[in-house]
Amino acid sequence: MQLPILSILVFLPILGIGVLVILNRKRHKELKVATLVISVVEFLFSLPLWFNFDSGTAAMQFVERYDWLPAYGISYYIGVDGFSLLLIMLTTFLTPICVLATWEDIQHRVKEFMVCLLALMSGMIGVFVALDLFLFYVFWEVMLIPMYLLIGVWGNPARRVYAAIKFFLFTMFGSVLMLVAILVLYFHYGKTTGTYTFDLIKMYGVSIPFNMQFWMFLAFGLAFAIKVPMFPFHTWLPDAHTEAPTVGSVILAAVLLKMGTYGFLRFNMPLFPQAAHYFVPLFSILAIIRIVYGALVSMMQKDLKRLIAFSSVSHLGFVMLGLFTFTMPGVQGGIIQMINHGLSTGALFLIVGMIYERRHTRMIADFGGLCNPMPVYAAIFMIVTLSSIGLPGLNGFVGEFLILLGTFKTNIVYATIAATGVIFAACYMLWMFQRVVFGQTTNPKNQELKDLSWREIAIFAPLILFIVWIGVYPGTFLDKTKASTENFVAMMEKAKTTQVSQSHVFKGEAQ
């Protein structure tokens, strides 16, 4: 019998919570070590996923399926394809790093923190593997609670509660409408085919009248757009990022935001392809607004963390732009860019977190000349900054290049405007870097700063390894997504020419 790897990945953190509950809450070291061990084991379990993954097929792999509520057509149905594989690997890869990053940062309520972290991990992986709409929705919502607690309990005292509630309500607003859309889809599918199921793969095939697609695309799209977040639903993000503890920001940026873009790729576009084509201009323009607006706002930030948060807004604009091209380079670039953003923005938040631990301030004006007391820190900061602005040879370049390539194929105007975002990114990131790291060490407090410890270097080493790897040889990663992307692009191409009936009003079912 094959090992149910995916289920192990989903439920191992839950088991880990069981272990943590038994441990003594006073002994922080033990709790941290235990969590680290659990997350490393989790990562090890995810490795077979990577190596046994068959890149030649777009079909779902490692599928597990058990009836959950058969009368309703709900099943515990999970699997991965090229899209989700990379995101799962990103999640399992980043979690041990996050645990390491909490070593000094989190000193009170350590036990609860670790429990939240593990619960979050389980929820995130659940979202990426779920192939049943009900199951997906459950994971999607479950994940909210630990993240909400992470921000609200361990965030900055001043505004953490505000940020946590804002995060929760914004996300929930989108997802409850998605729930109604899921139900409408469910009954539509049941009515047209006679079988009632929440099976996503089966639903891909059903023809939905355009009018209905239009509304459902918007309902699903709102949930994901808030998560990504698309302009103008992004206002929760800077607050959440700024107030969250370092690790919260890392997970938020690296994984949680990807759920939005992943949602578009997995649900919105394949389920409602005609509507997706219809909405290309709207979403592309919103994405471009994000790219440029995010960049401009970043430039003016005085707080390092806020600056990175807005740069996040800008970078994910590229992902959305790429996905909405429905071309090979655009979509593949979008996926790679999701990973890139996870690595480099995650690393940037860690960098800010480390300097904050030392100086208890994040204001750019308080720094300057950090390269003198902290050469290693400065070097790592440099690499990550360059990766974030897309220097060739590092990961950011690959993603942005592919996305722009895909966009040029479909719409030159979009691509031209979006490309300016790359330039802006260079402006604000390098300017920020210059103000923080270069120059004279004017502030005496900065002169005595300690450079990175071995633990901190160990946190960055794997991140930088992959930043360079993706930059130099992206083929390793692009291969995994190729088959799925081809399938996706072909499906979208076919949908362009398929006619669906124009109008239809959902009337419920005859009794």
């Binding site: 609860e112 909400y148 139900l183």
Partner: protein, 487 residues
């Protein structure tokens, strides 16, 4: 003239008899026992009676038909509700003893009244004749009026009882009036199974029928605390002893919904178009008013009172949907609601300590640090009430809204989910206070009495269990609503 007594089987009303006998036994023992003695045994006696009744109910499972000259239905719909009432009553008994003892009110009649009220509820759920339902309603209501005023030295408790009595009697009058009109319109029958055939017969009677149905809605709407008949709820819930509030919020509401659903689904399926519209408006108003008013509350009991109004609104959505799924979701949701709400009230009693000293929501500040397990269970109940997975509250809402969508009421479903979004705000505030605010003062030790702790533990486990494995209850509930052929 000879009076013929129709043949009947006592076993078909076994649970009623058991509870009545237990209640009388408690009263007698109370009268006989010497003054000042600790009255522990009554709560155990009540629980034993309820357990026996539950056992009998399970024995009745699967029976169908009527008994007592067609006055009583024997069906799984009734049985399912019996179990909800018994569960609600048993949990209430268990959270009551220590709480009442602190007040010096651990009286035999409290338990007897609780059991009588439960019998009344059973009459409502199984009544096959409108008068039977009315009798049940009165048996239940009168017992609960008294229970609400149990703390007779306390002004608020008095206010609660008086308000509930006067408004309740008023609503009963409406109900009776409605029944009278239906009696006239149907040509002299009040059997639920006869009504559908008779009501449509004479078009001239149509206004009378509609008026009758409207008045029934008023009567039932009052008991389920639906807007605009909800005005009594916050005051009564706040003033009544907390354990009684828990009982009212879950069992009384469940009983009213049982009768509401049975009457409307069984007797008026042909007039669905008419009453659906009215209930649609009521559902929207109830959800919205309940949720929005709850935001402004600082007393935890008042907040839960408004939240219970909002939940009545969700349950009305299930009635509006008026399909098999809707009826099933009603049953499931009421069970889930019983678990999560009694659990929440259990925590309120524990945190309130002696004589409800801590009922302000700010008293929950810092609870997460001082009593992690208690706070975690409260958080679980709050998330469940807000409808967040993997709790029973989520599955319940999922069922209800899917019933609404199936019936084509998409806007109703959208309004419903938007309302649960609003509700998240005030439920979340409790978790904010518990985990994200420092304690205003040292809360001191909480006296965990074994029975109360057990209630919180059992309800918490139940909320998770039927939330993660919704199939367990789904089958039972689906099986129970097969009796409505019109849906």
């Amino acid at each position: 003239m000879t009076l013929t007594i129709p043949s009947f089987q006592l076993s078909s009303i076994g649970p009623w008899l058991t509870l009545t006998v237990t209640a009388i036994l408690i009263l007698v023992l109370d009268a006989l026992s010497p003054k000042g003695q600790k009255k522990v045994c009554f709560s155990w006696l009540a629980v034993a009676g309820l357990a026996l009744a539950a056992f009998q109910t399970i024995g009745l499972w699967g029976r169908s038909g009527t008994d007592f000259a067609r006055m009583v239905y024997l069906d799984n719909f009734a049985n399912f509700f019996y179990l909800i009432f018994i569960l609600g009553a048993a949990l209430t008994v268990l959270i009551s003893r220590q709480y009442l003892e602190d007040y010096g009110k651990n009286l035999g009649e409290y338990y007897a009244l609780l059991l009588f009220a439960t019998v009344g509820m059973m009459l409502m759920a199984a009544g096959a004749h409108l008068i039977m339902i009315f009798l049940g309603l009165e048996v239940m209501s009168i017992a609960v009026y008294v229970l609400a005023g149990l703390f007779r030295e306390d002004l608020r408790s008095n206010e609660a009882a008086l308000k509930y009595l006067i408004l309740g009697s008023f609503s009963s009058a409406f109900l009776l009036f409605g029944m009278a009109m239906l009696y006239g319109a149907a040509g002299g029958t009040l059997f639920l199974s006869d009504l559908p055939g008779r009501l449509g017969a004479d078009p001239a009677m149509q206004p009378l029928v509609l008026l009758g149905i409207g008045l029934l809605i008023v009567g039932f709407g009052f008991k389920v605390a639906s807007a605009p008949f909800h005005m009594w709820t916050p005051d009564v819930y706040e003033g009544a002893p907390t354990s009684v509030t828990a009982f009212m919020a879950v069992a009384v509401k469940a009983a009213a919904f049982a009768a509401f659903a049975r009457v409307f689904f069984l007797a008026f399926p042909a007039l669905k178009v008419d009453w659906n519209m009215l209930l649609w408006v009521l559902a929207v108003a109830t959800m919205t008013i309940g949720n929005i008013a709850a935001i402004a509350q600082t007393n935890i009991k008042r907040m839960l009172a408004y939240s219970s109004i909002a939940h009545a609104g969700y349950l009305l959505v299930a009635l509006v949907a008026a399909n098999q799924l809707g009826a099933m979701s009603l049953l499931y949701y009421l069970l889930a609601y019983t678990l999560m709400n009694v659990g929440a009230f259990g925590v309120v009693i524990l945190v309130g300590r002696k004589k409800d000293s801590y009922l302000n929501i700010y008293d929950y500040s810092g609870l997460g640090a001082q009593h992690p397990v208690l706070a975690a269970s409260m958080a679980l109940f709050m998330f469940a009430l807000a409808g967040i997975p993997p709790t029973a509250g989520f599955v319940g809402k999922f069922y209800i809204f899917s019933a609404a969508v199936q019936a084509g009421y998409i806007w109703l479903a959208i309004i419903g989910v938007m309302n649960s979004l609003v509700s998240v705000f005030y439920y979340l505030r409790i978790t904010v206070l518990m985990y994200m605010k420092p304690a205003e003062a040292d809360l001191g030790p909480v006296a965990f009495s074994p029975a109360q702790t057990a209630v919180v533990a059992v309800t918490a486990a139940g909320v998770l269990l039927i939330g993660i494995f919704p199939g367990l209850i789904y089958t039972l509930a689906m099986n129970s609503v097969k009796i409505f052929p019109g849906l």
